[in-house]
């Protein structure tokens, strides 16, 4: 388990949505994909309450669609990797949809590996 504050500090994340940022928000799980089709398909199989709310969507896709996907799935935090910078309209949509949008320069593989080392686990598709 990691708090957003710890994630931001450990991986030098930029906080794009300061107005809805919650440093004490806890993350237990992660899912990474640049394809939102896959995120929608696999994360939609998670039926246990409270899992997706504590899951980090890790993606290199810095468009509105990452935010919309998180919103539909009740995922509250999106972490952009590879130094992707979201456009102003993406940040605006994240704020409107109450999604916390973070960004790191790390690659998707390194981000996931480091999070795994800290005890963050992948969501189960079954």
């Amino acid at each position: 388990m990691l708090t957003l504050e710890a994630i931001v500090e450990k991986y030098q994340c930029k906080i794009y949505t300061l107005q809805n940022y919650r440093p004490d928000k806890v993350i237990h799980f992660g899912f990474c994909s640049d394809l939102m089709s896959d995120a929608l398909m696999i994360m939609n199989t998670v039926k246990e309450e409270g899992v997706l709310e504590n899951t980090l969507l890790i993606t290199g896709l810095a468009t509105n669609q990452s935010i919309r996907t998180a919103e539909m799935l009740d995922v509250e935090v999106v972490l952009l990797v590879r130094g992707k910078v979201p456009a102003d309209q993406v940040i605006e949509l994240a704020n409107e949809s109450n999604i916390i949008l973070l960004g790191t320069d790390l690659t998707m593989f390194n981000t996931s590996g480091l999070l795994y080392q800290e005890g963050i686990r992948g969501i189960s598709s079954k």
Partner: protein, 150 residues
């Protein structure tokens, strides 16, 4: 009895606006305290269907209807239609463009994800357009006599 009806137009090729209808549908379901499971199933299916219209059609719309614990969605577009529905339902099969992949879609999972999310799905298509009807039932709703309309 809970009753609500809304129509949304969906613009072809507009990736910035894609998901707006699904987002509003989700907001209404949340406001009316439908179960989280139903909210997620309806949101995911309506988002996938909306994206399909944005990517594949020349434009269309969705009609959203709530009747008590049942949700009805009717997606209609104006063509060019799905050539082979059985093939389009196959997981991984996609005719999506590079532009849609740049926007994170086109994995060929949309229709089967919609089917898994909905309680009932009918899909008819010809070159003039496609009509997809979806029905969802919220089994967690306790039926009562209270009257509610928004």
């Amino acid at each position: 009895m809970v009753s609500f009806r809304k129509h949304f137009d969906i613009q072809a090729g507009n990736y910035d606006e894609a998901g707006k209808a699904a987002s509003e549908i989700k907001r209404v379901l949340k406001q009316l305290h439908f179960s989280k499971d139903l909210q997620k199933r309806v949101s995911v299916a309506s988002y996938e269907a909306e994206i399909n219209i944005v990517i594949h059609s020349v434009g269309g719309s969705v009609d959203f209807l709530i009747q008590d614990n049942q949700i009805f969605l009717q997606f209609v577009d104006n063509g060019p239609g799905i050539e082979d529905i059985a093939l389009a339902m196959t997981e991984g099969y996609s005719t999506a463009s590079d532009l849609s992949r740049l926007n994170g879609f086109g994995a060929g999972m949309g229709l089967s994800n919609i089917k898994k999310s909905a309680d009932e799905m009918t899909l008819v298509s010809d070159p003039c357009g496609t009509v997809m009807k979806l029905k969802f039932i919220d089994r967690e709703v306790v039926e009562d006599d209270s009257s509610q309309t928004i």
